[in-house]
């Protein structure tokens, strides 16, 4: 198993050595184990709760968000409900929200390109996309997306024409965002599953657009 070094905010990029299960755990891992065991011993947490929550987390991947996007592309009534109340529509789709967050789905159009960020921490639509990538949680993305979004998008290879509004949503409260990317041209014949397969996590964050099937191998 090749673990990349855990990323954090310091200027140094070496951070920690990779931790394998056989190696000595870090101070922080020891702390995590100790805190958890004490709380279970005191019956503040039930045995099995952490394990169950790990299963919940593992079940949340970008494939869920992609399914929602694909359904919105093919079903205008679903899309209308999704834009009206994101959480309710996802629940109708069988995706439970295990926390108190709401969801606003941001539709990209020929006039508006949406991108999401959390400048203060790392708020992210985890129930739909799973856990966010390190870069989303690190300083460069969080600091610059709200003040120079087009430069940030360009670093991801995305150029938005000047006559299209780039709309940055900064999550700070209990609403989470999901970008509904534009359906690429030339996809009329695709099934819903095939459409979902085109939709990537980064397109639902808004840093890239969705490529049509012919564009997948573009350099």
């Amino acid at each position: 198993m090749n673990n990349e070094a855990a990323a954090h905010d310091g200027d140094h990029s070496h951070s920690h050595a990779p931790v394998q299960q056989e190696e000595h755990p870090t101070y922080y891992e020891i702390m995590e184990i100790a805190v958890r065991e004490l709380l279970v011993d005191k019956k503040l947490l039930g045995p099995g709760e952490i394990r169950r929550q790990i299963e919940v987390l593992d079940s949340r991947t970008p494939a869920l968000g992609a399914k929602v996007v694909a359904r919105a592309w093919v079903d205008p009534a679903f899309k209308a409900r999704l834009l009206e109340n994101g959480r309710k529509s996802c629940e109708e789709f069988g995706i439970s929200f295990y926390d108190d967050t709401q969801l606003i789905v941001l539709e990209n159009t020929e006039k508006i390109h949406n991108v999401i960020v959390c400048t203060l921490c790392s708020c992210y639509p985890r129930v739909l996309l799973g856990l966010p990538p390190d870069w989303y949680k690190l300083k460069p993305y969080r600091a610059r997306t709200v003040s120079e979004p087009r430069a940030v998008l360009a670093e991801f290879g995305t150029v938005i024409p000047d006559d299209v509004e780039v709309r940055v949503s900064d999550s700070t409260a209990m609403v989470r965002y999901l970008v509904l990317p534009r359906r690429p041209p030339g996809t009329e014949a695709l099934t819903e599953d095939e459409l979902a397969a085109l939709v990537t996590r980064d397109a639902m964050i808004g840093v890239i657009t969705v490529n049509g099937p012919d564009e997948k191998e573009a350099p």
Partner: protein
């Protein structure tokens, strides 16, 4: 504004609009302990032992030096410890003892001991 007010008024995580480096598209699969730490945060929020907003404040309260040098989940677990002490749910001594005990398990060189005992 005096020179020191800025430290109180602007929290270390409040970085929107500050100059920063180009984005490096790094990501890493979570270490097992990190995933357990994330699950712990969620479960603590379910119980409202530590709600999500308390966690955020707890991380900020670590101060700039720790915020800038500890990794994401390292900040969380230290914040949890502090908040649990503040709430009288744990005391520092018992956590220290338990950490010693956990560390001793690993010195007994059983890789299986790394797995969660329960929960």
């Amino acid at each position: 504004m005096t020179a020191t007010e800025q430290h109180v008024k602007r929290l270390p995580n409040d970085i929107g609009g500050l100059p920063a480096a180009p984005i490096q598209q790094v990501e890493h699969p979570l270490e097992p302990w990190e995933k357990r730490c994330h699950a712990l945060a969620d479960v603590l929020d379910y119980h409202k032992i530590i709600n999500t907003e308390e966690k955020r404040r707890g991380v900020e309260a670590l101060g700039a030096e720790m915020v800038n040098s500890l990794s994401y989940y390292e900040r969380w677990i230290v914040a949890f410890a502090n908040i649990l002490f503040q709430k009288g749910i744990l005391v520092p001594g018992e956590l220290a003892l338990k950490m010693e005990e956990v560390e001793a398990r690993f010195h007994d060189s059983d890789p299986g001991a790394a797995a969660p005992r329960d929960s």
